[in-house]
Symmetry: C2
Subunit: 387 residues, 2 copies
Amino acid sequence: MNKILKFGSEFKEIEVGKIVVLGENAALRLDSGADISSFPLAYQTYGALNTEKSNAVLICHGLTADQYVVGQHPVTGKPGWWENMVGPGKPIDTAKYFVICPNVLGGCMGSFGPKETNLKTGQPYNLHFPVITIADMVRAQKLLVDYLGIPRLFSIIGASMGGMQALKWADLYPEMVVSAIPIAAAGRHTAQNIAFHEIGRQAIMADPDWCEGNYLDEKKYPAKGLAVARMTAHVTYLSEAKLARKFGRKLQGRENFTYGFEADFEIESYLRHQGASFVDRFDPNSYLYITRAMDYFDLAADNGGVLANSFARTKAAFCVICFTSDWLFPPSESKLLVHALNATAASVSYVEIATDKGHDAFLLDEPDFARTIAGFLKGVARKVKIS
Amino acid sequence: MNKILKFGSEFKEIEVGKIVVLGENAALRLDSGADISSFPLAYQTYGALNTEKSNAVLICHGLTADQYVVGQHPVTGKPGWWENMVGPGKPIDTAKYFVICPNVLGGCMGSFGPKETNLKTGQPYNLHFPVITIADMVRAQKLLVDYLGIPRLFSIIGASMGGMQALKWADLYPEMVVSAIPIAAAGRHTAQNIAFHEIGRQAIMADPDWCEGNYLDEKKYPAKGLAVARMTAHVTYLSEAKLARKFGRKLQGRENFTYGFEADFEIESYLRHQGASFVDRFDPNSYLYITRAMDYFDLAADNGGVLANSFARTKAAFCVICFTSDWLFPPSESKLLVHALNATAASVSYVEIATDKGHDAFLLDEPDFARTIAGFLKGVARKVKIS
């Protein structure tokens, strides 16, 4: 389905994939207390659902990704964000599993988000869009899974914010989750994480072209603020060691300093590029909403202050994966999850992948990581007898 | 001496302390190749120079500090930035030592910087100010020390960028340095450090009120951009553990989320305050110049690619101090300094202070840190027979 969406300075007609309208008969009550109904959720599927409907894998995407797990992205023209992990014969094998990936509630690739038009006013929602939570994202996904007629999910897999969603699924709908793989995730957002998000939001809101959130109405675009937000986030996705190895103090196409404020260093040039290219594919208000959802995430607080309570009803097999050099979602946070799962005698594997690639390692070629996911899924498939 | 300086939205007449005009007879050639002459350097002194002129301690300040080491700050009205370390009976004992602290070249508290008026044009320099380096700051300090008639410095003490200056002193003027205490410093700025600086600069330059650097002429002020820059830097000064301990996920004066973009969390409120208060005391262009000086710093590159070469001529006693939880200038960087000093058979102590306070620990009450400095200075004083 095509939608007219604005990214950067351009309006583009974009194929956002499949779209379902959810909550037509019953509104979805959000954590904020707001009710939403008849709202769109865009999603992609890969592979085929088996007759038993027992082979569905839900992939939950991270902060700035979307439903284009594999295949050419309609905005950037680039490959999907998880090509190395998903496909026929890949660790998440689409010859065997039916993979579903919805764009999150609050997102900007066709799902209900702040740039969608409010049919009552004919204007974009902008900041009138309700603040959403990770639980709200999961509730919307549940409606999608129901719509697809799938009673239980063979696995829910997600990294970073996607991992938060996988954890929240196990909390909200324990009977529907056969297995879950939270990767580089955590049971709550830490003060440092909130701090970096707040910097990003302040950078966007500092841009006068943000227009107090009404840039679509004003035909402006806070590109500079969004770029600074992205640059800030991007540094947190990489380890110091990776930055040192990849960039160090190398100069960008020059022998000497310019003694000015051009991008003398490769790392500066790289960051500027990351900021600039992000602006062309993401919505600034959506960035505010989704970072806020992550900030609010606190599984323990949702469950009487005890993290283990959130897993009390689970029957799922968990594989908790993290990366040694990830300082945004460090192994210590994953270990808290494992301790809580152990406290409820849940089935849990814990795998710490040794890498210097930082948080973004889940997007990169990490053979041990790929083998871990492939092996875990095969094990669960054998146990629950998926052909 | 009073100077009219602009901070935030206000012009204020400010007592910037003592000011000397340097380079009147011979211009100072900067690393960029530019020559500067008859330029002001503002400084404060504490204590008295002894008759032998052997008790002078040079304190080199960090990125956003200034000459107001102790005593009420003329802009903020707050105490000096190192009250706990400097004064009669304090570790840097002003009853015993003559402490000098100059505002760095490129700074904004009276020393020659981008907001100073170009006497040829009658306008502020803005981006016509030459890019300066850590070595240039040191060269200007050397002129000040000469002006004060001091042949050798009993100690040069500095943290963070101040530590870079202390190291560069030992490289450029080895015969003048009796001892040096580089604290939470490094022999070069890493890719991650440059990345965070570049984000800060981009935040400032993204603000339309920066006016391509000409905000003073345009009577504007890029307050929002500067605040975002400060927030970004501030997070890097604190450890994750300190943030978790001090703020965690505590809400700011409320019981529940507002489901909006107010500062729900204490960490958000704290960061916003850090940004806002910085704007009232610092010059945006000065921030660009001083961060650039740090980015360019690479002692090894200055010395044929071998860090140890920079210490080849030193006779100084070094005390290299770092903090376990400092991830901006981590102990690994201090150890590189110690290895290089050892490789030249220099006199060096290495002290790693166990603390969760991160980079900013040097500003805070850390008894082991204070004892280390007091003890080292006493030891050197005994050795060189300072009364």
